[in-house]
Every structure is written in structure tokens, then in C-alpha cells.
């Protein structure tokens, strides 16, 4: 697919990194402030969608990115399952056991495994949405 004009490309160059960083901020501070894995994941996916829309790419590269992003999604959900099962294996017979120390509420490093779950869910949502978008783009390209 072809990209957009020079103006859009230049603005994307400046803004892209900031949007991605904002998504990471929303994900990592999900247990302290509004946000979390779902919202942050969609913002991260939005940063990549912005990049693809502004610059365009040739189809072989897009296909490879789609494979990678799909694989990343599978890895993330697999990690979620492993994290859930670790609590089960540690002796207490509870799936999704919060086995890490809780710490004091309000600190960045606190709340046990909730930040880790936030990050994994964020990766999963971002990869899933980006894969959906790429599937539509590749479908359009292949038809020509």
C-alpha cells in the first residue's frame, strides 16, 4: 500500500514515539491511575496503525509483520496461563493466586502480579488489534 503525503509522514515521525510511550505509561501505571492493559494495549496498537497508514509498506513485509504480531499474541496469552498456573503449583490450590508480595498501595512496584498481568494483557490486546488491522490491509492488497 502507498503511504500518505509528506506532511502526514513528518507529523508521524514526531508523534509516533510519543503515542507509543503514552501507551506504555497507561499500561505500567494501570494499578495506580485510570487505564490498564486494555486501554494501553489499544493505544499501542494505534501507534503502529498510525505508522503503517502513514508510511505504507510492501506486501511481503506486511505479511511477515502479521506473522510476528500473531505469534507475539500467542506468546502473551501463554504467559498469562503460566502465571495463573504458578499460583496453583505453589501449594495453595487457587488458580490466579496473587503469590508475589503486595507491598504498599500507591507505589509503582506493588500489588503483586497485577502489573505483570497488565503488561501481558497489554501486549496481547495490542498484538491482536494490530493483527486484525493488518489482515484487512493484506486482504485489500492481495486483491489487486
Amino acid at each position: 500500500m502507498t503511504g500518505m503525503t509528506n506532511i502526514v509522514k513528518t507529523v508521524t515521525r514526531i508523534i509516533g514515539g510519543v503515542v507509543f510511550l503514552f501507551g506504555l505509561y497507561i499500561v505500567t501505571h494501570g494499578h495506580l491511575s485510570p487505564g490498564g492493559g486494555f486501554a494501553g494495549g489499544t493505544i499501542i496498537a494505534g501507534a503502529f496503525i498510525l505508522l503503517v497508514l502513514a508510511y505504507g509498506d510492501n506486501i511481503m513485509h506486511l505479511r511477515r509483520i502479521k506473522e510476528e504480531s500473531s505469534a507475539l499474541e500467542n506468546i502473551a496469552i501463554f504467559c498469562i496461563l503460566i502465571m495463573a498456573a504458578v499460583g496453583f503449583l505453589l501449594g495453595t490450590k487457587v488458580f490466579f493466586n496473587n503469590f508475589l508480595p503486595i507491598g504498599t498501595a500507591g507505589q509503582l512496584i506493588s500489588a503483586g502480579i497485577i502489573p505483570l498481568f497488565n503488561i501481558l494483557i497489554g501486549i496481547e490486546v495490542a498484538a491482536a488489534l494490530f493483527t486484525i488491522f493488518l489482515a484487512f490491509v493484506i486482504f485489500k492488497e492481495e486483491e489487486k
Binding site: T5, N6, I7, K9, T10, V11, T12, R13, I14, G16, G17, V18, F20, L21, F22, L24, Y25, T28, H29, L51, Q107, L108, I109
Partner: protein
Amino acid sequence: MRYIALFIVLMLIWLLFTFSLDAGNLIVGAVCAAISAAIFGGYYPRGSRMFFHPHRYFWAVIYLFIFLWECIKANFDVAYRVLHPGLPIKPGIVKVKLNVKGEMARTMLANSITMTPGTITIDIIDDYIYIHWIYVSSHDAELYSKKICGRFEKYIRRIFE
């Protein structure tokens, strides 16, 4: 060079987001900014050394006031045209030759023209900028290019060149 510049900018933005100087916060911010810079650094515009030239900041502040003044003038102009019962508009697309070089400067010029009411940038192709104008006052290329772009160009050249 571009990667390091983006990293520093993103780190400052992270500190603005979180507004705390904890050790943990700084470490997490550095990691996030590093990931972000690693992915998007290749796209960051060249010419990061412009951050170290103080006179550019001075001209940027001057430009802000010039832009606001032009914006207010154009606002009244468009309001007059909309409220006038005869609706004196003559829309058209004009093609203006650009005198500024560099993509940052061109983007700045295009965005300034879009933000000013009455004119909208459509595209930049090669050295020409295509602008939709609510009232095409003359057909002389010299005159209208001076009227649209000339007021911004000399300041933008001082900021970005």
C-alpha cells in the same frame, strides 16, 4: 544520534506524565523510553542538533505571536464573509512555490496555513504546495504566494535553517 535524541525527549515526557522522581519510577521510565526509542528512533527526523541552538527558541517564541496575530486577523475576515448576507466567497485551489527547505520547516508551514482560518493545505508535491483558499483575491502568482506563505516563511526559515 537520532535514537539518543528521541530517548532524551521521551524521558522528559515520561517525567511530565508521572511527575515524581522515585528510583523505581525513573528505572521503569528509562526502560519504556528505551523500548520506544528503539522502535521509533529510525523514523525520528534528522537534525537533532537544532535543540542546542538558543536563537531558534527565541525565533520560535516570536513566531508564536506572529502566528496568533495572523490567526486573529483571518478569523475576523472569515467571520465577515460568513455573516455577510451576500456571502462574498470565491473558493479555489492555488499552487504556490515553496521557498523553505527541509521537511520539518515545510510541515510547520503547511500546518500553520491549515490552522489559519480560510486556508487549508491539501498536499505538497515536489516544490509546490497546493492550498484551498476561501477567497481567491488575485490570479497573480507573485501576489498570492506572498499573501499566503510570505508572512510565515521568513520566520520559519530562521527557526529551522
